[in-house]
Amino acid sequence: MLKRIFPHPLLSMTLLLVWLMLVNKVTPGNVLLGGFLGIVVPILTSPYWPGRPRLKRPLMAVPYVLLVIWDIIVANIQVAMIILFKPRARIHSKWVVVPLDLTSAEAITVLAGTITMTPGTVSALLSADGTSLLVHCLHTDDPDSVRDEIKTRYEARLKEIFG
């Protein structure tokens, strides 16, 4: 019964929170309306979520988000320094191929997004079988260390979250 009302409890929570943030006021009426949306939207959209992944350890997402936010701040300063002070000829851009251990589409999406937002890297392409990711690196002299950092810093943590 509970399963029928809440096919996707995390989505319901997210919808309720986003609704409250959108109206910017926490009143009983808004909580009710947000709760209603949180129940109705997942039920209506459940056909679009076949085989959605179960998060193994959803709470691990909190330190991950904090880590990524910190990295984004560092990334901004690094990229700003490169743009401002590095002569054009000395910016060595390289392609880096990252072999993936993650299998679920959602986890790979999060990883690709994280790579784009963090230090000097933009994810560009996925191989047809989804086992490696092509990443463009703004400036590096050691592509292997970039690949290893992505794997240990982000992918390992995502593997823990998505299981």
Binding site: K3, V18, L20, M21, L22, N24, P50, G51, R52, R54, I72, I73, A75, N76, V79, A80, I83, L84, R88, I91, S93, W95, V97, P99, A112, G113, T116, M117, G120, V122, S123, A124, L125, L126, S127, A128, D129, G130, T131, S132, L134, H136, L138
Partner: protein, 126 residues
Amino acid sequence: MFAEILVSAFLIIAGIFGLVGSLGLLKLDDTMQRLHAPTKATTLGVGGVLIASMLYFLLVKDKLSFHELLITLFLFLTAPVTALFIAQTHILMGLRRRDLPPTGGEHDWSIYDDPPEQEPREADQT
């Protein structure tokens, strides 16, 4: 007074990063390099403005505003997607197959190769 200094500090930081991001667009050479400027430098630029706005409402107007957090969330969702689309279009239109490194697996990059036949994923209909 203190609140105003704090808010202006964040606005100035945001302005500097926004400016650097735009400068990057001018300075860098090819499309892939230029992509780095708007995806990163600008994030902190917009982020700074949003933090300043939250602080302003919290400290000066005495109310908590969540809209800024939502804007941050939407920005984090959309910026990588936009960057990915631009990158793929650029690779397809502007680069040749041999400009890219090999995948290291059996299959080629997704824009040159079809995905392998897949077993339908076991739907968890419980």
